[in-house]
Symmetry: C2
Subunit: 182 residues, 2 copies
C-alpha cells in the first residue's frame, strides 16, 4: 500500500471518529471528506460504504465494552462490577453519539456489528445474573431491559442537551431502581 493512501486512511478515520462522536451519524459523507481535506472518491476507496466507515469506528469501541463486561463478571464484588459497568456505558454513550446509534441499531444492519451486539448482550447478561445471585440487583429484569433503560436515557438526555449533572441524577434513579426492593 502506498504511503499517502495509508496516511489518508488513518486521517479519514480520525476525522470521522471525532465528527460522529460529537454530531452523530447524520453528518453527510461529503462533510467528512471536506473536513479531512479529501475528495469523496478517496474516502470511498478506503471505505466502500458509509456503514463500513461507521463500523470501522464503532467496532473497536464496542469490543472494549465487551471486554470490560467480561472482566466485570470475574470481579470480586459482583454488584459493584455491574453498577460500574453501566456507569461506564453512560459515560461512553454521552461522549460518543454514534455509540447510541450503533447499539440502537437504527438502520445499521452490518453483520459484524450485530455479532458484537450479541456478544455484548451475553456478557452483560452474565454480569447481571451474577449481581442478581449476589443479591445486589432485583431479579425481575434482564440484560435487554437494563440496556434499553440505560441507553434510552442517555439518548434522551443527549437530545435534551442535558449535562453531566443531569445524567448523574438520572443514572442514580436507575441504579436505585435496579437494587432489590425493601
Amino acid at each position: 500500500m502506498r504511503a499517502d493512501a495509508e496516511r489518508n486512511r488513518r486521517h479519514v478515520l480520525e476525522v470521522a471518529m471525532a465528527t460522529f462522536a460529537t454530531e452523530g451519524l447524520a453528518v453527510p459523507i461529503d462533510e467528512i471528506a471536506r473536513r479531512a481535506g479529501l475528495g469523496v472518491g478517496t474516502l470511498y476507496r478506503h471505505f466502500p460504504t458509509k456503514e463500513a466507515l461507521f463500523a470501522a469506528i464503532v467496532e473497536g469501541r464496542l469490543e472494549e465494552l465487551v471486554d470490560l463486561a467480561r472482566a466485570g463478571a470475574r470481579a470480586a464484588d459482583p454488584g459493584a462490577a455491574f453498577f460500574a459497568f453501566i456507569t461506564r456505558m453512560v459515560e461512553e454513550g454521552a461522549a460518543k453519539r454514534d455509540f447510541l446509534t450503533a447499539l440502537a441499531g437504527k438502520g445499521v444492519d452490518l453483520e459484524r456489528i450485530a455479532a458484537i451486539k450479541l456478544r455484548m448482550r451475553r456478557a452483560i447478561s452474565a454480569l447481571l445474573m451474577r449481581a442478581q445471585r449476589a443479591g445486589a440487583v432485583r431479579r425481575d429484569v434482564n440484560a435487554v431491559d437494563v440496556l434499553t433503560l440505560v441507553m434510552g436515557t442517555v439518548h434522551a438526555a443527549d437530545r435534551h442537551g442535558a449535562g453531566a449533572a443531569e445524567r448523574r441524577r438520572m443514572l442514580a434513579v436507575i441504579v436505585d431502581g435496579l437494587r432489590p426492593r425493601g
Copy 2:
C-alpha cells in the same frame, strides 16, 4: 368553506393520526395522501407543511396530558397522582409514536408545540413537587429529569420492539428508583 373541503380535511387528519401513531413521523406525505385517497396538492392546501399537519395532530393530545397533570396536582394522594401520571405517559408514548417525536422536539420547531411543552413542564413540575413534599418521591430530581427518563425509556423500548411486559418492568425500575431512598 365548501363541504367537500371540510370532509377531506377531517379525513386527512384521521388518516395521518393513525399513520403517525403506528409508524412515526418518518412516513412520507405522499404516502399519507395515498392512504387518504387524495392528491398531495389537496393535502398541502389544508396543511401548509408537514410540520403543520403534525402539529395539528399532536397539539390536542399534548393538551390532554397537560390537563391530566393539572388534575393530578389537585388529587387527594400526591404520590399516587404523580405515578399514575407517568404511567399514563408511558402508555400514551407506547401507543403513539409521534408523541415521542413531539416531546423530543427532534426537528419540530413549531412555536405552538414549544409553548405546550413549556406548559407541560410546568404542570409536571407542580405535580412532582407536591409528591416530593408528601414524601412520595425523592427530592434530588426535577421535572425534566423525570420526563427524560420516562420518554427516553419508552423511545428505546419502541426501537427495540419491546412489548407491554418489557415496558412494565422498565417502568417499575424507574418508579422504584424515584421513591425516596431507604
